[in-house]
């Protein structure tokens, strides 16, 4: 069973009495169990709208959206979710412990376990020294840490995280990354919305690039990168390296000579076999052969330009 199944979702916001602003235009994607899914998109592409649909804050116009097989509007789906909003707001008259106790009770955590679990979570996100301080005194980074702690209450199977690392300092980012990896190891699913590409590259197993209300590209990081080969670079060495490069010039993108070294660049993968066979029958030696792919950022910018 998929953790999230999203099929042909359409959603529009009302803009005035008769006008509608279409945000999602046939959004479809699946999130497998266990692993981290990066939901990447520019501002206004529909990331937060999708997250609101998953949490049943808004209702879709059409399409199917399920969480562990339950319709996203079904209260049973909520039992599986831990949600962390982009800029979490809390009851400022409470402290972190009081707030987490309140959320634990709403989540239905067994009463005798609440205190122990809260202590573990507070330690996990690094809020031990501030746990009794009123939330009104919290910095943005501290609020972000509390936001993650409250999402982890009840040990949910699916974590929906909206820009979770946006307000964190480098230490906080590392703490969060380590928590995410630990959760993944424990078999949890993380649905991670962001527009910070290095975070996605470092953390996510699978990425969906959302553009203009639809998934423009989807796959694992390796799949996405390997499908966007910029060129293949072959470095050969030997006295006849120049002649060798000259022989194959017709199939290359460029040839660069440096004394006894030739750097040959080409785009056609089939040409790799030809060049390797030719090297075997000649006096030149193969120094390196590597694919140069576009970065995730290049792919993202390319897709954004197409949308």
């Amino acid at each position: 069973m998929k953790t999230i199944e999203c099929k042909d979702i359409h959603f529009s916001y009302k803009a005035g009495f008769l006008r509608h602003y279409r945000v999602l235009k046939g959004l479809s994607f699946d999130v497998d169990q266990r692993g981290i899914y990066g939901f990447l998109g520019i501002n206004g592409s529909g990331k937060t709208t999708t997250i609101k649909l998953l949490n049943n804050f808004i209702k879709k116009d059409s399409g199917t959206l399920t969480i562990f097989g339950f319709d996203a509007q079904d209260i049973k789906a909520r039992a599986y979710i831990g949600y962390m909003p982009e800029n979490p707001s809390f009851y400022v008259y409470l402290n972190a412990k009081e707030f987490l106790t309140f959320i634990s009770r709403l989540k239905g955590v067994h009463k005798p376990e609440i205190k122990e679990r809260i202590d573990i979570l507070i330690k996990l996100v690094g809020l031990e020294r501030h746990a009794d301080m009123p939330i009104s005194k919290y910095s943005r980074g501290m609020s972000q840490r509390l936001g993650l702690a409250q999402a982890l209450i009840g040990d949910p199977e699916l974590l929906i995280l909206d820009e979770p690392m946006a307000n964190l300092d480098p230490i906080g980012r590392r703490v969060f990354r380590e928590i995410f990896f630990k959760l993944k190891e424990r078999g949890k699913t993380l649905f991670f919305s962001t527009h910070i590409i290095p975070d996605v590259e470092m953390i996510c197993d699978k990425v969906g690039i959302l553009m203009d209300g639809r998934i423009a590209k989807e796959g694992s990081i390796d799949e996405l990168l390997s499908s966007h080969i910029e060129y293949i670079e072959c470095v050969i060495k030997g006295k006849e390296a120049g002649l060798f490069a000259e022989r194959h010039k017709a199939h290359t993108l460029s040839v660069t000579m440096q004394t006894d070294t030739a750097i040959i660049r080409f785009t056609d993968k089939k040409f790799v076999d030809t060049i390797l066979k030719d090297i075997v029958g000649s006096t030149v030696k193969l120094s390196s052969l590597e694919e140069h792919t576009q970065s995730l950022e290049d792919i993202f910018v390319h897709e954004a330009g197409r949308a």
């Binding site: 916001y13 609101k52 949490n55 049943n56 804050f57 808004i58 209702k59 209260i75 049973k76 909520r78 039992a79 979710i81 949600y83 909003p85 800029n87 979490p88 707001s89 809390f90 009851y91 008259y93 409470l94 309140f102 959320i103 009770r105 709403l106 989540k107 239905g108 409250q150 929906i160």
Partner: protein, 267 residues
């Protein structure tokens, strides 16, 4: 019901930690103390004036607290987006609305209890200090005053339902509070609308007045302050009727608020 009670207790905690509530409650207690200053000005009607002043004073301020806190408890959740952290849990939206309403009802009961005790003590002390004869002491109808105070609590519960209703349909706490207060003022004059009906002969105006008369909650019937001063206690049937009226009207408003809130976009 368990989840609604968790929301209710949190709402009560929020209200109790609200400085405005404290400020108004202190103001109410100071007002009750200040009422003792009125005694020399009342020319032989001291006890009646003090009773009237004390009850009107706490009635007015408890309504102010209820209207403003009542409309903000739901609206603030939407404006500050704290509601997102609640509704992303396995909780129905109706449980949220009922919880918020019950939390406010608990606050009303606490305010009315403390202030009611204050009123009773105030009247008792003034009665002791002004008159020492048992004849005057018996002029105060403590049971009737207690009953009037209990009906004040019912009035507040109904105002709460109105404020929750307006919180669900308006986009600002201030607008919600203004509508609630306006409806309360109209509701205090519904008896006058009935009198107006006798004077108006045009059929469509009669209909409009009738619609307003029946649609607007009749807060004036829950105001038993004057009756309490003269020791008039509503009989059990009247009391049950008024209690049922509050329960039904509150239930109706909460159901409409829930239906609206079920389809509300949480942004």
């Amino acid at each position: 019901m368990k989840k609604a009670s968790i929301i209710a207790l949190n709402t009560l905690k929020e209200a109790i930690r609200n400085r405005i509530v404290y400020a108004v409650m202190i103001l109410m207690l100071l007002g009750l103390l200040a009422s003792q200053l009125l005694t020399p000005l009342t020319m032989g009607e001291q006890i009646k004036v003090i009773q009237d002043f004390s009850m009107t004073f706490i009635n007015f301020f408890s309504i102010i607290v209820t209207v403003f806190v009542g409309t903000s408890v739901v609206r603030r959740e939407l404006d500050l987006k704290t509601i997102q952290l609640i509704l992303s849990r396995p909780i129905h939206r109706y449980q949220f609305i009922i919880g918020k309403f019950l939390g406010m009802v608990l606050l009303d009961i606490i305010i009315i209890f403390i202030m009611g005790m204050g009123v009773m003590l105030n009247i008792f002390l003034i009665n002791k200090s002004v008159y020492y004869s048992m004849w005057y002491f018996h002029e105060i109808h403590y049971i009737a005053i207690l009953e009037a105070i209990a009906f004040m609590a019912l009035q507040l519960i109904l105002i709460n339902a109105v404020s929750v209703f307006f919180s669900a349909i308006t986009s600002s706490a201030v607008i919600g509070a203004l509508f609630t207060f306006f409806l309360y003022v109209v509701g205090m004059f519904t008896q006058n609308l009935n009198d107006l009906l006798k004077m108006v002969h045009k059929s469509y105006i009669t209909w409009i007045i009738k619609i307003i008369y029946y649609a607007v909650p009749n807060f004036s019937t829950l105001d038993l302050k004057n009756e309490a001063i003269y020791g008039i206690i509503p009989n059990i049937n009247q009391a049950l009727f008024l209690f049922s009226y509050v329960v039904l009207y509150t239930g109706f408003l909460l159901i409409v608020a829930i239906l609206i809130f079920e389809n509300k976009e949480i942004r």
